[in-house]
């Protein structure tokens, strides 16, 4: 029982990363009907930007001697990195997606993939092959509840993710930009007739998705401090799968499916040898998609790849 609850906690943490990244995929999809295949690498870039910001802040503290507490540095790191990374998203939209809005969807997918490769390689070229270790901004403390062990980092990771998701939810439900995004996901074509510029909403969506990915990147860095340029491939593709599983374009679905994927993986690894994790997790996904071809919350309309 304790082990079960322990795995729930682990699943929550692991699912947080997937959910945060999946949200970015899903948001872009919901308004443009295109997946941003470079998104997994935006997560990686966000993590590195987080590393840079954190290092800079620590350097600032060391230089000036102003005693900033660790948690404050962490919060500043998250905020600054989210801000900076959002521009990466805007850039990707401008360069890779806007020119291809009327092109076949497959072409945009290829462009996205290629931008992803460029981000990976670019990182490798700039920083070299050595792996960076993310600075530990807060001391690790372990709490014990009955038989379960929970670290403060786990609480922080899950808390920050849930908080960001709630903020996103509020933004989408209450703000006029959120309303425009929802409208765009329903009927892309007539949105301009409401006086709404698609060329403002689309970059905004990319920016928000990228900011969330950056947050995921920093939280990931807290839990697993070793960064490498290909970290976005593993997590990004799985988060992409989660986004699809949730129902393309469904924000709630993406978040839930992200957590679900986290749970599946943690529990599979608990019951079976951990090497079987991918096989079983993906087989479950394959089965779900075979019998529910539109995911959990997706609309049952088939979009063809335009050629």
């Amino acid at each position: 029982m304790d082990l079960f609850l322990q795995n729930i906690v682990n699943g929550l943490q692991w699912g947080s990363f997937y959910a945060l990244i999946a949200l970015g995929y899903s948001m872009v999809y919901s308004i443009l009907m295109l997946f941003n295949f470079a998104h997994g690498d935006v997560f990686m870039v966000g993590s590195y930007i987080g590393f840079g910001v954190a290092t800079a802040l620590l350097g600032f503290v060391a230089l000036t001697g102003i005693p900033l507490p660790g948690w404050l540095i962490l919060i500043l790191t998250i905020l600054f990195s989210m801000f900076i990374t959002s521009f990466v998203g805007v850039f990707i939209e401008r360069v890779g997606y806007r020119p291809l809005r009327d092109a076949p969807r497959a072409s945009a997918a290829i462009t996205g993939l290629m931008i992803g490769i460029i981000l990976e390689t670019g990182n490798l070229a700039i920083l070299g092959a050595r792996r960076l270790s993310f600075p530990q901004l807060i001391e690790s403390v372990t709490y014990q509840f009955g038989g379960i062990y929970v670290t403060n980092k786990k609480i922080l990771i899950v808390g920050v993710s849930l908080g960001l998701m709630y903020l996103l939810h509020r933004f989408i439900q209450k703000s006029k930009w959120g309303m425009a995004m929802r409208a765009m996901s329903f009927d892309f074509e007539v949105v301009p007739l409401m006086g709404v510029s698609i060329n403002r909403i689309a970059p905004l969506t990319f920016a928000i998705g990228s900011a969330l990915a950056a947050a995921a990147g920093i939280l990931y860095g807290l839990a697993y401090p070793v960064l490498d340029p290909y970290m976005g491939i593993l997590l990004g593709w799985k988060a992409f799968v989660a986004a699809i599983l949730g129902g393309r374009g469904s924000i709630l679905g993406a978040a839930l499916a992200g957590f679900l994927l986290g749970f599946i993986e943690i529990f599979v690894a608990w019951v079976f040898p951990s090497t079987l994790r991918d096989v079983i997790a993906y087989s479950i996904i394959l089965l779900i998609l075979t019998f529910r071809p539109h995911g959990f919350f997706g609309q049952a309309h088939s979009t063809q790849l335009r050629l």
Binding site: K176, M179, A180, R182, A183, S185, F186, D187, E189, V190, P192, L193, M194, G195, V196, S197, I198
Partner: protein
């Protein structure tokens, strides 16, 4: 002349849908375009609201400004031309109220927005009752009301209406046109496209007849109603 269109050509790929359309509308008028399915009526409206690019050589001026210089969203927000598209195209996942609010996305005048919402609800009291309902769950008539209400919120210099009678029961149709008359009395110019020619000609002051992408006839509604050719082709006898 509020809207002046000269030599408008529109093509879908290689296929030309509109050939050298010329027409103009005065402020405060109600003008309709009638014609068969596929004659190019919707295309004309979509060209005016810039959803479709016009071919080279086309001239469109609205209140002295070159319409072709404006992006579709600016046509609405800066020129005040609203468009009720064919099939209404409401945002079914948004509530009635949100549909109305979205139409004011680019507007900065907070107070008058509230006044306009009140005005929409006074024209269409049914919408008031359905305020927080999802637009997708409305009945056909209510959807049409919302579509017009949404256009009313987004811009009121010129309203383009694409088949406002489509799928409405006769009684509802009447009240819809009553409402449009009221909006017109407040000073909105109306350009509508109708398949139901008889209805449209009774409602509008002037009309243009479109056939295969060409304007073939124009005149006052009364004249056209009695024109034997129009009678034969569009009025069923």
């Amino acid at each position: 002349m509020q809207l002046e269109i000269k030599n408008l050509h529109v093509s879908y790929g290689k296929i030309r849908a509109l050939h050298a359309i010329d027409f103009s509308i005065d402020k405060g008028e109600i003008v309709c375009i009638i014609g068969a399915n596929g004659a190019g009526k919707s295309t004309t409206l979509r060209a005016i609201s810039r959803l479709l690019p016009a071919d080279r050589g086309s001239v469109m001026t609205f209140e002295g400004k070159n319409l072709l210089r404006y992006q579709p969203d600016k046509v609405v927000s800066q020129l005040g031309i609203s468009h009720v598209p064919e099939g209404r195209r409401l945002f079914g996942n948004l509530t009635v109220m949100e549909n109305l609010q979205l139409a004011t996305f680019a507007r900065r005048d907070k107070d008058s927005i509230a006044r306009d919402v009140a005005q929409v609800f006074s024209i269409f009291p049914r919408l008031m009752e359905r305020k927080s309902q999802m637009a997708g769950t409305l009945s056909g008539g209510e959807q049409q009301m919302l579509a017009v209400g949404r256009a009313y919120m987004s811009g009121r210099r010129l309203m383009l209406l694409d088949e406002p009678s489509m799928g409405l029961a006769p009684l509802l149709m009447l009240s819809m046109f009553e409402a449009l008359k009221e909006i017109n009395r407040e000073g909105t110019t109306i350009l509508l496209v109708e398949q139901n020619a008889r209805l449209a000609l009774k409602f509008a002051q002037r009309a243009y007849v479109l056939e295969n992408g060409r304007l073939v006839l124009q005149g006052l509604s009364g004249e056209l109603l009695n024109n034997p050719e129009v009678k034969k082709a569009y009025l069923g006898g």
